[in-house]
Each structure stands twice: as structure tokens, then as C-alpha cells.
Amino acid sequence: VSCSMAGEEDFFLEEKRFKQYCEDFVKHSQQIGDGWEWRTSKDLGDGYLSKTHFQVRSRHIPPDLEEKNNDNTEQMLFAHVEEPSDDSQAAGACSTEEVVRYEYHVLYSSSYQVPVLYFRACFLDGRPLTLDEIWGSVHASYQARLQEGPWDTITQQEHPILGQPFFVLHPCRTNEFISAVLRGSQEHHRYTNYITLWLSTVGPVVGLNLPLSYAKLAPEQSTDAAL
């Protein structure tokens, strides 16, 4: 692994290096049919990794329709979607399955010199998920950290290339955990794909999982002179 080092603690990722890791990553994704692709922007030639997948969520609506957020309409809607056939008074709880379309983009931040995960989700009718709904779908083990300071971790931001609203996993803390692992990797002259390492750590927070075969990722030819 060769990155420019600002201090002994931190590994920073140069943009060229980022693109190379993404290229290796996409090659492996293509081999296993994992759906990642690289998109190049037409005007400035920069780009990003992109993946879309669909997830089925089971949703349980309690009989008490007291809402926690502003929008009551959605809960009202689901309460009427499935009426139990043996109960003409739809007073009981009902659960329904819904399909959510998740879109994940990995962009490079030149300001922080790290990759950043952008994502958005919508139902099949096009209605986007709210930030509350996104938080609600975050894995239980990450919930505690998000409760403390949600504004530091997932926020809604404008996509820097597409100009549309996305949710973003905040990049500030990336270097803390990346540095520790990459230092060990460098000492043992092992190739570690920065994107695989980073995405396998942050992705699960927002429902994105990487098959284990990515861990065996190796460059087709030596991309790192420093190894």
C-alpha cells in the first residue's frame, strides 16, 4: 500500500490511487456478479463507484397509529393495504412487506482525501425514504452511536456530481480505523484494497454488505511499487 502520509498516524488516499483501487474492485465485482460499476462524469472526467440493489423489508404497523414523525400519511396508507380476511374491523396490527430500492455511490473527497459513501433509497412508487426511516433501518449495533450524534454520522447532502439529495456517511472518522489496519498491512507487504477495507467496515451500517471473496482481492499486476 502506498499512500502519501501527512503524519505518522494517518494514511491519506491520493485520487489516482483511489481510482486504481476502484478499478480493481469493479473487476472483482464483475467476476462475482456483485453489481458495482464505475461511472465517469462527462464534463471533468472524475467519477464514482455505483451499485443499485433492491431489498425487501417487513414492516410491522402497531394498532396505535400515533406517529413519531411529521408524516402520518404513510402509516395510514399501510394500515389499509392489508386487511386480515378474518377480521372485518381492521383494528389489529398488520404487517406488510415493501420493496426498497437502494442506490450506493462511492465518491472521492479531495478535501479529506478519503472515499465517501453516498446513498439514497426509495420505495417502488418513487417515494424517497426519509432520514428517520433510514435511521430506523440502521443495524442495531450501530444504533447507539447514531443516537448520540446523528448529525455527525448520517446527513442529507447534495451529491457533488449529480446535484441531487443523497444521504452521506460522514468521512471525518475514516482515518482512525483505516490507518490502524493499513499500517499492519504495509509492514507485512500485503496488498490491501483500500476500498474493500473501508466499504466492508462502513457499508453494513447502511445495509450494504460485501461478499467475503473481496478479501482475496489482488491486483492483476503490481499496482504498488512500495509493496
Binding site: N70, R127, P128, I161, Q164, P165, C172
Partner: protein, 230 residues
């Protein structure tokens, strides 16, 4: 920066006279009069329009009121851009006052970020400040500040307090005397005509030969189409 205090004050106190009109399809109990306001260039729409919201909500029923959003000639206005930027981008060649249309329904999810509270604006503002300092000082100055300094920066903006704001911001605008400038210059070039919202790249204040870069150098480097040969 003390030499530039006049310029700093002029920038801070820049105002745009604006006329807010309720969208004609909003459902009202009686006619809504337009509302006039001087908007601060350096602030954000959702931070300075409480009075606009109250004014129009007076003639509407509560159930007709959802998240407020603003539009100019059919284009939803991004509240997370500074007001002065929005005006320069969309309306700089038109006559004053700037005419903005106010909506309370059909929030354009694909175009605008939500802004459910002032906390969202504060988080956005502070994120911009932090990113700029990452470029200027590798985040050293912003990270050395206490939370109360961050709060003072935000309160200065929110309450239009120039001195309060600059007491903290001046530290973010300094660099060690042995350096000739910041590590990189935080800049964004916005164009109304592109899908890409802005151009942002790493750019050093000093050329390899030691000369100070000019604005022209920056434009030539990152946005040459902006400089026409004529």
C-alpha cells in the same frame, strides 16, 4: 485581515431586497399579500424567513401547511446555498426586488434537501467551515477550538453579529508567518447551466516558482471556459 475590515463589513452587511409571494395554488382562507424583506447575502433562506412563514401561515389552515420551500421562475431554490449565491446564480441580471415564490406543499424531494429545524442549517454550516479548514490548515485550527467557539461562529451568523463572528473566524483566516498562505484555497465555482453543482479542486495559493497565484490563474486551471478569448 485588519486592513480589510471595511471589505469584510461590506461583504457581511450585503443585502438583497426581496418580494415573497405565495404560490397561487396554495389554499388560503383569504388573499395573501406579498411580503418584503432585505435578505442577508451571507445567510441561508431557511434561517432568515421565519417572518415570511408566519405571514403566510396566517391566511392558511394548519392542515394545508407542510415544509416551506422557495422557488424562482420555476426553479426550486437550494436553501443550503448562501442567499447571495442564489441571487447571483439565478437573478443577477433582473430588476430588484428579487421575486421569490413561497410553497407549502409538494416538496420537491429530488431537488431540495429537507430543512426540518435550525439544527440542520447549523450542521450544514459547520460542515462547510470544517471542510474549508481541512483545506487551509489540515483541520488543525478548527479542531483546536472548543465547542463554545464553534457555537459562537454559528450564533454570530444566526444573529447577524459581525464582531462576534469574526472574533472566531479570524483564527480560521490566519496562517503562520513562515508560510505564505493556506495549504489549499477553499473555493467553489458555481454555474447555473451545469448538472454538476460546482467545481471544487485542490489549489495551492503559491506556484512552484514561489509566485502568488491570482484568481485568473485559478480560473485558467479549473474552469478555462469561464475566460473567453474575446
Amino acid at each position: 485581515m485588519t486592513d480589510d475590515k471595511d471589505v469584510l463589513r461590506d461583504v457581511w452587511f450585503g443585502r438583497i431586497p426581496t418580494c415573497f409571494t405565495l404560490y397561487q395554488d396554495e389554499i388560503t382562507e383569504r388573499e395573501a399579500e406579498p411580503y418584503y424583506l432585505l435578505l442577508p447575502r451571507i445567510s441561508y433562506l431557511t434561517l432568515v424567513t421565519d417572518k415570511v412563514k408566519k405571514h403566510f401561515q396566517k391566511v392558511m389552515r394548519q392542515e394545508e401547511v407542510s415544509e416551506i420551500w422557495f422557488e424562482y421562475e420555476g426553479t426550486p431554490l437550494k436553501w443550503h446555498y448562501p442567499i447571495g449565491l442564489l441571487f447571483d446564480l439565478h437573478a443577477s441580471n433582473t430588476a430588484l426586488p428579487w421575486s421569490i415564490t413561497v410553497h407549502f406543499k409538494n416538496f420537491p424531494e429530488k431537488d431540495l434537501l429537507h430543512c426540518h429545524s435550525k439544527d440542520v442549517i447549523e450542521a450544514h454550516f459547520m460542515a462547510c467551515i470544517k471542510e474549508a479548514d481541512a483545506l487551509k490548515h489540515k483541520s488543525q485550527v478548527i479542531n483546536e477550538m472548543q465547542k463554545k467557539d464553534h457555537k459562537q461562529l454559528w450564533m454570530g451568523l444566526q444573529n447577524d453579529k459581525f464582531e462576534q463572528f469574526w472574533a472566531i473566524n479570524r483564527k480560521l483566516m490566519e496562517y503562520p508567518p513562515e508560510d505564505n498562505g493556506f495549504r489549499y484555497i477553499p473555493f467553489r465555482i458555481y454555474q447555473a447551466t451545469t448538472e454538476r453543482p460546482f467545481i471544487q479542486k485542490l489549489f495551492r495559493p503559491i506556484a512552484s516558482g514561489g509566485q502568488l497565484h491570482t484568481l485568473g490563474d485559478l480560473l485558467k486551471d479549473v474552469c478555462p471556459s469561464a475566460i473567453t478569448p474575446e
